[in-house]
């Protein structure tokens, strides 16, 4: 899942300094689950904006709306009625959602209310951890289900480095576990430790972001009817 966190409120105030009529738009999926941008946080941010303006002696209107996902056009369209009179949108979705709104509503400033952090999952309630960096060529089969790209601070493919001590990574021994220690431990449990003796060659990053903006298509997906008609 995409993990995001709310921007410091000062930043949101700064971005909306000129706005008179703001819609705070939430997303009902990833950012709801990671407690950063669902209906509850939408209400909180809207309240804060109203109070901040009031205390600064500015008259503004702030409304709220949360849709299922801001990264699907059909859902995004549902926001249109809520945009009447609105001059600025603060989206609490991830960067994908913000861009979808920007594309759909060309004449409106769409501002990001959260920082999109990473692909991850909760390590405990209220805390999330990065697990994958979408490298585009998953090698978890070779590393016993522990990702060396996202979870080794140095993205080492032949680890560990000399900074691994007591299972912790030298980059932050309090918080970060050494991914290579985890890989080795798990490979041992699987009885496959010897496989790690083979040297993994340098990575081909072309499937990751180095190959330019990525697109992926499903060969078997039936096109939507509008598209299907075009190709006839």
């Amino acid at each position: 899942m995409i993990i995001a966190e709310q921007k410091p409120f000062e930043r949101i105030v700064e971005m909306t300094a000129k706005a008179r009529n703001i819609l705070v738009a939430g997303c009902g999926t990833c950012v709801t689950v990671c407690l950063a941008g669902g209906a509850k946080e939408v209400a909180v941010v809207a309240s804060k904006l109203r109070l901040a303006a009031q205390n600064a002696g500015r008259k503004i209107t702030v409304t709220e709306a949360t849709i299922e996902r801001q990264c699907e056009n059909e859902f995004v369209e549902k926001l249109a009625p809520a945009l009447k009179g609105v001059d600025t949108v603060v989206s609490l979705a991830c960067g994908i959602g913000v861009q979808f709104l920007a594309e759909a509503f060309q004449n409106l400033p769409i501002l990001p209310g959260v920082n999109t952090r990473f692909l991850g999952a909760p390590s405990k309630q209220g805390t999330w951890q990065e697990k994958c960096m979408a490298c585009g060529d998953c090698r978890l089969d070779k590393t016993a289900g522990v990702c060396p790209m996202a979870r080794c601070s140095k993205n080492l493919l032949n680890g560990p480095c000399g900074g691994s001590a007591n299972g912790k990574c030298e980059v932050n021994p309090q918080k970060i576990e050494c991914a290579w220690q985890l890989i080795i431990d798990r490979m041992e449990k699987l009885g496959r430790l010897d496989e790690l003796e083979a040297i993994t060659p340098p990575n081909d990053w072309s499937t990751a972001h180095d190959g330019g903006v990525r697109e992926t298509a499903s060969e078997q997906a039936v096109p939507a009817k509008t598209e299907a008609m075009k190709s006839v």
Binding site: P8, F9, E10, V13, G28, T29, T32, V33, C34, L35, G38, A39, K40, E41, A43, V44, S47, K48, R50, L51, A52, Q54, N55, A56, T66, Q125
Partner: protein, 341 residues
């Protein structure tokens, strides 16, 4: 020889035999007792031991004492017994890992989950005698439940399955283990489900749900316009308020008291709304630490209040316009001390 003895403790529980007497004896011979909400800080430097402590009654700045000896209570840890109820009922344990050992609001043998009783060493560090007493309390509890052929459960909170994002927050935080998730056949989808027979309506889940999918069945009480809004936990502040009311208390002008089922119902959204509707000051009154019927409703509220206090200045609201205070139902003087801003 003149020996000075200071006793720092969280809550003095004198339920055990002879404890009350011992306490009185101690007081008489000059032992000083200091209750705390926050563990006193201990510093050892140059063989000198300093204890700093913030008094909960004066809530003033911390006092500090140097001493020759520091005696610390032994720490008892729960054994394997706590393992399976934890797994079975997702039952919450207290700070020491026991099932509500030090919570004075829990009846003997009662767990956070209605109908589930815990006795002996999983509940607290108890003697055989105590365990036996707890076991009969548990038996009594069970017989009350079984007295009627059917258990009638009231609905205190409901989930809107259309809104639920299945984030599982409520499942993880409900201190009464009253929520799981599963299919709503009429909606043909999965969502969080509340088990009415276990839910006590504390509203902690309502305050925490990121999708605003949970509602309490009791309507929120009316707020009257007033400079100060006081949110009162129904088990402490609200009871103190009722006691005062029975004694012809004159409610301070410009203060509006509102009952909440538990301080844990109070979330950031609710506090901000209160400021929006014109209250200049918001006071959250909850139970003392380790004395919350919902185990950590009071600390949940404290967390949210602390978070918001850090954030208020950016909104142009002074942090001291929001405050959380602790009291017991009997501490009416603390409620009477609430004055308009």
């Amino acid at each position: 020889m003149n020996i000075e003895v200071l006793f720092f403790l969280n809550s003095l529980q004198v339920a055990e035999r002879e404890l009350e007497e011992k306490y009185r004896e101690g007081r008489k011979s000059g032992v000083l007792f200091f209750p705390y909400n926050q563990l006193p800080a201990v510093r050892v430097a140059d063989k000198e031991i300093t204890v700093s402590h913030k008094d909960i009654f004066t809530e003033g700045s911390p006092g500090s004492w140097t001493c020759d000896f520091l005696v610390v209570d032994e720490k008892a840890a729960p054994g394997w017994e706590v393992d399976w109820p934890t797994r079975m009922f997702n039952a919450p344990s207290d700070r020491e890992g026991f099932f509500s050992s030090s919570n004075p609001t829990a009846l003997p043998a009662e767990s956070g989950r209605k109908g589930v009783f815990v006795v002996g060493n999983s509940r607290a560090n108890s003697s055989t005698e105590e365990s036996l007493a707890e076991a009969s309390a548990a038996a009594a509890g069970v017989s009350v439940l079984l007295a009627k052929p059917e258990i009638e459960a009231e609905t205190h909170a409901t989930v809107d399955p259309q809104k639920c994002a299945l984030c599982l927050t409520c499942v993880r935080v409900c201190p009464h283990s009253a929520i799981d998730y599963g299919e709503y056949p009429e909606h043909k989808r999965s969502a969080a489900r509340i088990f009415d027979a276990a839910c006590i309506g504390c509203g902690i889940c309502v305050g925490e749900c990121p999708a605003r999918a949970i509602e309490l069945t009791t309507p929120a009480p009316e707020e009257k316009p007033a400079k100060t809004l006081v949110l009162c936990c129904k088990r402490s502040a609200q009871q103190a308020r009722e006691t005062l009311a029975a004694h012809k208390w004159t409610v301070p002008k410009d203060v509006c008291f509102v009952e909440v089922p538990c301080a844990g119902r109070v979330d950031t959204g609710l506090i901000l709304k209160a400021f929006e509707t014109g209250h200049e000051r918001v006071l959250v009154l909850g139970c003392h630490e380790d004395a919350c019927k919902s185990i950590y409703g009071n600390t949940a509220a404290q967390r949210r209040v602390d978070y918001l206090k850090k954030n208020l200045p950016a909104i142009g609201i002074a942090a001291d316009r929001l405050e959380m205070r602790r009291l017991a139902a009997s501490q009416v003087e603390r409620l009477a001390a609430v004055q308009p801003a």
